[in-house]
C-alpha cells in the first residue's frame, strides 16, 4: 500500500471479497433454484398440451384433465382446514393461555410430535385404522343426514372417502397452524391482557378483547400456510383416498375426486411418454396454486410486521 491519504478507504481484503461473494452466490442459488423449478416443470409439461386423450386418462385435453383434480385438491384442503382451524386455535390457546405455565412446554412438545410424524405413516394409519373406524359413522350419516347433498351416499363400505382423507390432512395441518398461532398469542402485550383483566373481564373476554385482535393477521397467515400444506400433501391422500377423479360434493361415497398430488404419486411410477408430461403439467398447476397461497400468506405476515414495527 502507498502512503496514507487524507481520505482513507477501508482496505478490501481478498479474503473478504471472496467470502462475501461466496455467500451472495449461495443466496442467489436459492433464487435460481426457485426459478428452475418453474422453468423445468414448464419444459417437461409443455408436450402435454398436444397429448392425445388416451394418455390423459380419457380427458379430451389438458384442461379437462387437470380441472377435476384441482377441484379435488381444493375440496380436500378446504375441508381439512375447516376441521383443523378451530382445533388448532383451541390447542394454541391451551398452550399459550389456559395450561398452567409448567405444563405448557411439555404440551407444546406433544403437538410438535404430531408435526414430526412422516406423512407416509399418517397414510398408513389413515388407511388401516381411521377409514375402518369411520365406516359405521358414514353409514349413520347417510341414514340420518342423507338429505344433505354432502352426505348423499351411497356410503362407502371401505371408509376411504374424501372426508377421511380430509380428516387425516387436518391432523397433519393442525400442528403447523398451532405452532404459528401460539407464538403470536404469546406475543400479545401483557399490559393489554392485564388491563382487560383489571377492568373485570373474564378470561374469555380478555382473550377476545386483547389476544384475538392482536393476533388476527397472524391467524390468517397461519391458516393460509396450513392451506398451502394441505394442498400439496401427497402420501396421506394417495393412500387413504379411493379416487375415481369425478367432480362431486358427496363426501362419503365410493366415488371420490382425486387431488393433483395424489394423482401424481399414484400414476407416476407406471407412466411413460406423454402421460409423464401430463403429470408434470398438473404438478406445475399445483406449484402455481401453492406458490400463490404461500406468497399471499407471507405477504400478510410481512405487512403486519411492518405496521407493528
Amino acid at each position: 500500500m502507498s502512503a496514507s491519504t487524507a481520505v482513507r478507504k477501508p482496505r478490501q481484503r481478498v479474503g473478504d471479497r471472496v467470502f462475501s461473494n461466496l455467500t451472495r452466490l449461495a443466496g442467489l442459488a436459492i433464487l435460481v433454484a426457485l426459478a428452475a423449478v418453474a422453468i423445468f416443470l414448464t419444459l417437461q409439461g409443455l408436450p402435454a398440451f398436444s397429448a392425445p386423450s388416451d394418455k390423459l386418462g380419457g380427458a379430451a385435453n389438458l384442461a379437462t384433465y387437470v380441472l377435476p383434480l384441482v377441484f379435488g385438491t381444493l375440496l380436500a384442503a378446504v375441508l381439512a382446514l375447516l376441521i383443523a382451524t378451530p382445533l388448532a386455535l383451541g390447542v394454541a390457546l391451551v398452550i399459550s393461555h389456559y395450561a398452567p405455565p409448567r405444563l405448557a412446554r411439555p404440551l407444546g412438545y406433544l403437538v410438535d410430535l404430531l408435526a414430526a410424524v412422516p406423512s407416509v405413516v399418517y397414510g398408513l394409519w389413515g388407511l388401516a385404522f381411521v377409514s375402518v373406524r369411520l365406516t359405521p359413522a358414514y353409514a349413520w350419516l347417510e341414514q340420518h343426514l342423507g338429505w344433505i347433498p354432502l352426505f348423499g351416499g351411497p356410503a362407502s363400505t371401505t371408509g376411504r372417502t374424501i372426508l377421511t382423507a380430509s380428516i387425516v390432512l387436518a391432523i397433519m395441518v393442525m400442528p403447523i397452524i398451532t405452532a404459528i398461532t401460539r407464538e403470536i398469542f404469546l406475543q400479545t402485550p401483557t399490559l393489554n391482557e392485564e388491563a382487560a383483566l383489571a377492568l373485570g373481564a373474564t378470561r374469555w373476554e380478555m382473550i377476545r378483547l386483547a389476544v384475538l385482535p392482536y393476533a388476527r393477521s397472524g391467524i390468517v397467515s397461519a391458516v393460509m400456510l396450513g392451506l398451502g400444506r394441505a394442498l400439496g400433501e401427497t402420501m396421506a391422500v394417495a393412500m387413504v383416498l379411493s379416487a375415481s377423479g369425478v367432480v362431486t360434493f358427496d363426501l362419503i361415497s365410493n366415488t371420490n375426486p382425486s387431488t393433483i398430488a395424489a394423482n401424481i404419486a399414484l400414476k407416476f411410477p407406471d407412466s411413460t411418454g406423454v402421460a409423464v408430461n401430463a403429470l408434470v403439467a398438473s404438478g406445475l398447476v399445483l406449484f402455481v396454486i401453492t406458490f400463490v397461497v404461500n406468497f399471499a400468506a407471507r405477504w400478510v405476515v410481512a405487512r403486519s410486521e411492518r405496521t407493528q414495527a
Binding site: 473478504d16 461466496l22 426457485l34 423449478v37 423445468f40 383451541g90 385404522f129 404438478g283
Partner: protein, 385 residues
C-alpha cells in the same frame, strides 16, 4: 374451572379488603367467602360463585350419565366420551348461568371447548403411536434390519436396502443443503442487511418452505430427464429433491441462530483488526454452532420421512444399491408405501413389514428430534430471556 380475575391477590378472612365490606353492605345476603371458595381463586366482589368443586362434580355426573347411556344403548367408548363432553359443556355453563352470570357461563363454556379441542388433538397422536407400536413391534428383529427384499416372496426379508437408501440420500441432501443454506444465511445476516436482494431472498425462502414435496420430486425428475432421458431413476435425484425442501429450513434456522450472536462479539473482533470473513468464521459461527446443528438436525428429521419426491425420482427396488448415481434406490418411506399398498400374496407378510418399517422410521425421526433438542439445550449460550 377457574373463574375470572385469576391474578388478583388472595382475599383471606384475616385481612378483609375494604371492597368486600362495601359489597356486603350492597348485598346483605351475599355469603362470606367459604373456606373452599375463598382459597385464592378470585375475589368474589359479592357475586355468588360456583364452588371450586363444581367442575369436578359436573364432570363426574356427565361421565356417569354417558357411561350409563352407552351401556344401555350399546355405544362404544368413543361415542360415550363424546356424549360425556357434550353433557359437561351443557351442564356446567347452565349451572353457571343460574348461579353466576351469563358472562361467567360463557367463560366456562369456552374453557371447556378449548380443552376439548386439545383433547381431540391428542387422540390421533395416541392412536397413531399405539397402532404403529402394536403392529410394528412384533416384526422387528435382527433379520428384519439386516436383510434386503431381494428374491423374497412371502415371509422373511427385511428393510436393510431401504435403510441404506434413506441414509445415503438424506446424507447427500444434507451435504448439498447445509453449505448452500448456511452461506445464504450468512449473507442475509452479515452482508445483506437491509438491501433489496437480501429482502427478496428472505421472502422467497419463506415462500419456498411451502413447496409441495411432490413438486420437488417432479422438478428433480424434469432436471435429470434433460440429461439422462425420460424415465430416469436415480438416488441422487432424490437428494436434489430433498435438498430443495431442506434448504429453506436450514436457511431459516441458521439465520435465527446467527442473529442471536451478540454484536459486541463482532465489534470486539473488528477492533482487534480481524477481517470480516475471519470474524464470521472464527467468532460468529462457533458461537452459533450448537443452534445451527440443532436446526440442521431438525431439518434432516423433517425430510427423512418424505415419500413423494423419492417415489417419483428414486423409484423402488428390492436390492441393495449403494450407488447414488445409477439405478433405482429404495428408501424407508417408499418401502412402507409399496409394502402396504402392494403387499403381494399373501398380503399379511408385506403389510407386517410395512408396519415394522413405519416403526423404524418413526423411531429414527423421534431420535433425531430428541438429539436436536438435547444439543440445543446443552450447548446453547445462556441468553437472558
Amino acid at each position: 374451572m377457574t373463574g375470572p380475575l385469576k391474578s388478583t391477590p388472595r382475599a383471606t378472612e384475616a385481612t378483609p379488603m375494604p371492597r368486600t365490606t362495601s359489597a356486603q353492605t350492597r348485598f346483605p345476603q351475599a355469603p362470606r367467602p367459604e373456606r373452599g371458595a375463598g382459597t385464592g381463586r378470585h375475589l368474589s366482589f359479592g357475586q355468588p360463585h360456583l364452588p371450586w368443586w363444581a367442575g369436578w362434580l359436573v364432570a363426574a355426573v356427565s361421565a356417569a350419565a354417558a357411561a350409563l347411556l352407552s351401556l344401555t344403548l350399546g355405544w362404544n367408548i368413543a361415542g360415550g366420551a363424546v356424549v360425556a363432553v357434550v353433557l359437561f359443556a351443557i351442564a356446567l355453563p347452565t349451572w353457571s348461568v343460574l348461579v353466576e352470570s351469563s358472562r361467567a357461563a360463557k367463560d366456562r363454556l369456552v374453557t371447556t371447548l378449548v380443552w376439548a379441542a386439545f383433547a381431540i388433538a391428542l387422540v390421533p397422536l395416541v392412536s397413531l403411536m399405539y397402532t404403529v407400536l402394536a403392529n410394528g413391534l412384533g416384526v422387528i428383529n435382527g433379520q428384519f434390519l439386516t436383510y434386503s427384499m431381494r428374491n423374497v416372496i412371502g415371509q422373511g426379508g427385511g428393510i436393510y436396502h431401504a435403510i441404506i437408501g434413506t441414509v445415503l440420500i438424506t446424507l447427500a441432501a444434507t451435504l448439498i443443503s447445509v453449505p448452500v443454506g448456511l452461506l445464504s444465511a450468512i449473507y442475509l445476516v452479515e452482508y445483506g442487511v437491509r438491501n433489496r436482494t437480501a429482502r427478496t431472498i428472505t421472502f422467497l425462502v419463506d415462500v419456498m418452505t411451502g413447496i409441495p414435496s411432490i413438486v420437488a420430486g417432479l422438478f428433480a425428475y424434469a432436471l435429470f430427464a434433460l440429461f439422462f432421458g425420460q424415465g430416469v431413476r436415480m438416488g441422487f435425484g432424490g437428494a436434489v429433491a430433498l435438498s430443495l425442501l431442506m434448504i429453506p429450513i436450514v436457511v431459516r434456522s441458521c439465520e435465527e441462530m446467527l442473529k442471536l450472536v451478540p454484536g459486541d462479539l463482532r465489534e470486539a473482533s473488528y477492533a482487534l483488526g480481524v477481517p470480516k470473513w475471519r470474524t464470521i468464521v472464527k467468532v460468529v459461527l462457533p458461537t452459533a454452532l450448537p443452534g445451527i446443528i440443532t436446526g440442521v438436525t431438525l431439518a434432516i428429521a423433517r425430510v427423512i420421512g418424505e415419500t413423494a419426491p423419492l417415489l417419483v425420482i428414486a423409484g423402488s427396488t428390492d436390492s441393495v444399491n449403494t450407488n447414488l448415481f445409477a439405478e433405482r434406490m429404495m428408501t424407508l418411506p417408499v418401502f412402507i408405501y409399496y409394502s402396504f399398498t402392494q403387499p403381494g400374496v399373501p398380503a399379511q407378510f408385506g403389510q407386517d413389514r410395512a408396519w415394522g418399517a413405519a416403526l423404524v422410521l418413526i423411531v429414527i425421526v423421534m431420535a433425531l428430534n430428541l438429539v436436536a433438542r438435547a444439543i440445543g439445550r446443552t450447548f446453547s449460550p445462556k441468553t437472558a430471556r
